[in-house]
Amino acid sequence: MKNHSLFTTRELVLDALLSALLFVSQVSLSWLPNVELVSLLLILYTLVFRKHVWLILYVFVILEGLVYGFGLWWFSYLYVWPILPAAVFLIYKNNTPKPFGISLLSGIFGMLFGFFCAGFYLITGGPGAALTWWAAGIPYDIAHGTGNFFLSLILFQPLYRLLTSLKRGQSHQ
């Protein structure tokens, strides 16, 4: 009998595990302002697990809302985080990922995170509120981008190798 489901049970379990890993990485580094592994993990998940990243990402976003509350910031997460996998799909359609390029992408995303989130404040509070909100957080956006750049530069290669070998092992089972 042919299986018509979008994902197999094995894939769903793996996606749940990867979402949990994403969430745990966020919580465990939350004491460091704007230093996070979520961006790097999302890039890796997109490169290795392709379309599964959407399910993993939205489970993560819902978990964030359940734990921290569904505030205004949460609604911006619905469209801000997906920008990163979308950029990876676009840039790395035919290209092989290199640590420096990935680090730049992650760094630029970190620096523009506040700008992307301000889009939601544009709708709710108008251009003045959005600009003020964005500008007030710029030093933190720069720290975010710098952190993303260096974390990706150090961790991308080993994590990419690890995840690709896990993926290979999974597909051979």
Binding site: G101, G128, I138, D141, I142
Partner: protein, 142 residues
């Protein structure tokens, strides 16, 4: 195509530098500029039950929170974040519980919503600051 691939790290680096420069320019142009010297300002607190309190002060402070702290019997409390400073929850014992009913203390500068929070709002001579107990239903009426 190969030439483009060789150039892509350079182009990526240029993009990162351009974004960083843009952020620095926006931050420099929009950061609040405090005014030096003595300023005379008024502060109003509008409570939920319609009761208002008025304070008139003269201060050397540059930001609103510093000025408020100098007023005897004026109590302001909240949670502090590095990014936005004090997020006001309680004024003179009256708490706005956002988790419970969406209430919050709105900060107005001369009747318009201030662009900054109480810690980052630079004060100007002659300006009137209002703390308004606001419920979501009242917000819709504005």
């Amino acid at each position: 195509m190969n030439r483009f691939k060789r150039l892509s790290p350079f182009l990526g680096g240029c993009a990162a530098i351009a974004v960083l420069a843009l952020l620095l320019v926006v931050y420099t142009l929009t950061k609040p500029v405090p005014m030096a010297g003595t300023k005379s300002i008024s502060i109003d607190v509008e409570y939920e039950n319609g009761v208002n309190e008025h304070y008139q002060i003269t201060t050397e402070a540059q930001f609103l929170l510093e000025a408020l702290k100098s007023i005897p019997n004026f109590q302001i409390e909240g949670t502090t974040t590095e990014e936005f400073g004090l997020m006001v929850t309680t004024i003179n014992g009256k708490r706005a519980d956002y988790q419970k009913d969406g209430a919050y203390w709105a900060l107005l500068c001369d009747g318009e919503t201030c662009n900054y929070g109480v810690s980052q709002q630079a004060i100007k001579d002659g300006e009137r600051y209002t703390f308004q107990y606001t419920l979501p239903s009242e917000e819709l009426k504005k």
